[in-house]
């Protein structure tokens, strides 16, 4: 009996070994290193100099970092709020289309999610071209002035947000559609008997039943938005006039172009803290409020 127990433990060890070793090497060690590097001054090649919390205190006095933080928050807020409303609206519309139309429309709206962020950014860069791109031709054909889009410090961030919305709308719509289908039909029937109209039914039944799904989408979209990079790198390189210089792009630039590794790591650690708060919240949602699992 005792040997079979030991055999079981040893087998478990072997089963877990590849993944756990991988996670130690490629997740745990790097995060420890990130914290360590953030306490040093280093260009990646010469002698590393321990400077304590200097990078952090410098960061809070750095106007570029402050602006980058605000840009990221603006990006995340606008993206998440618009995404939640738009994907819910699309789900409600497409869900009420019956028959084959629903499947065709759903697939069409979902397709942008399947293509890569790089390609999505390319297609929209093409549409945004000044002066000959499709959007500007459309604007001029209806008698409006052409716009600069990615070339304008005021419009660039919103132009990037539009791409991110376009690329992820279908995914969130599908999650909402599944949740709408899960609302028990008896609730609607009862409400109909009570004489509730479409908007009353939406307000008193659909919306409360979708609370958890909405929270899930808000948290997941926020975590994703705080890490946006691909679209920015392709479309604007953080510009113009640093208008789209979001946190991850700032880390990339500081770490890989400017060569201030300590400074870049300090930014990364702060980003880690911000995202952790949302991830912990996400865990609670996934557990449906339970903190202990069943095993």
């Amino acid at each position: 009996m005792r040997t079979s127990r030991r055999q079981e433990s040893f087998s478990a060890f072997l089963f877990l070994l590849p993944d756990v070793a991988g996670l130690i090497l490629f997740a745990f060690v790097p995060i420890v290193l990130a914290v360590y590097i953030s306490l040093t001054q280093w260009n990646g090649y010469t002698q590393q100099l321990f400077v304590g919390l200097k990078n952090y205190t410098d960061l809070f006095q750095d106007a570029e970092f402050g602006k980058s933080l605000l840009t990221t928050l603006e990006y995340a807020t606008v993206f998440v709020a618009t995404m939640t409303v738009l994907s819910l609206c699309c789900a409600l519309i497409i869900n009420s289309v019956k028959g084959i139309g629903q499947e065709i429309y759903r697939t069409m709206i979902f397709t942008p999610y399947a293509i890569s962020a790089v390609i999505a950014a390319m297609v929209w860069t093409f549409l945004y071209q000044v002066p000959k791109g499709y959007f500007n031709s459309f604007l001029m054909s209806i008698g409006l002035d052409k716009m600069l889009f990615l070339g304008s410090p005021e419009q660039a961030l919103f132009s990037v947000i539009a791409v991110s919305l376009w690329a992820t709308l279908g995914y969130n719509m599908i999650i909402f559609m599944a949740a709408i289908k899960d609302v028990p039909a008896e609730l609607y029937e009862a409400a109909e008997i009570d004489g509730a109209n479409f908007f009353e039914r939406f307000k008193t039944i659909t919306l409360p039943m979708l609370k958890n799904t909405s929270l899930f989408i808000i948290v997941m979209s926020t975590i994703a938005a705080l890490q946006v990079f691909d679209q920015i790198k392709i479309m604007t390189d953080g510009g113009p006039a640093k208008a789209t210089n979001v946190t991850v792009y700032y880390i990339y630039k500081m770490g890989f172009t400017v060569g201030q590794l300590g400074y870049a790591s300090a930014t990364a650690v702060l980003l880690f803290i911000a995202i952790s708060i949302f991830t912990l919240f996400q865990f609670r949602l996934l557990n449906g409020g339970k903190t202990k699992d069943e095993a």
Binding site: S11, L16, V29, T107, M108, I109, V183, F272
Partner: protein, 275 residues
Amino acid sequence: MFKREIPGQVVLYIVGFVLAAAIFFPILLMLTTTLKPVKDMFNNQILPSLGTMSLDSYRNLFASGSFTTAAVNSFLVSASVTVFGLLFHSMSGFALAKLRFAGRNVVFGWILSTLMVPFAVIMLPLFLMARSMGLSNNLLGMILPAIPQAYGIFLFRQFLLGIPTEIIESGKIDGASYFRIFFSLVLPLTKSIMVALGMAIFMGNWNSYLWPLLISQGPETSVLQLFIAALKSAYTTDWPTLFAASCIASFPPIIIFALIQKNLVASNKYVGVKG
């Protein structure tokens, strides 16, 4: 009742079509632009005119071997990560769900905690580690760090918690080792989750840009996303060729996602999100 419903559905069909068509339009335009000559790329017509329609963009793409190299590399990286990821995650999930050992919950909790580490936070130390291990500018450097993923382990564990323990007991009575039990009795049961997770892992790596951007330093280790990004020029971009590469690179994800659309929702529910 019947009469009243038809106009409602007609309106919904039209509204739905306008919505779906507007969202699909950029994809359609990407496809049709590949058939236009460069001089017509901003001609504001969706379809190429019949007289000038050509496949030159695709010919340009394959003229040098670098596109093929990038495509092959993308496939090698994505396929390797998928195969090893599924194997390792199913093994870990099995141990966490069905084997008893001291500290099981601690190990599981620690694995879950790695979900909190976003890639952007560790990319710099990871790059330095890869460089010192000789993995930079090397496909292995793209493959190895992408394999361990707590989410996949979590999915397999949740799934395997649901299978009856008698299956394992019966294997033990027959004198099979845990490895025999796992490979011949347990693994065949995980087919549905293998397919769904496998496709998700493949697509995630196929579409990934940031890590290859850091680790690849030359055309021989380029992947599709890097190749496409490099086609954009600050001056005049050959959009038909860029989109030809994009269409080819988008083909596998679009097909695969069309197949797993329903599973996507199922796997979400599986993790326990309630509507």
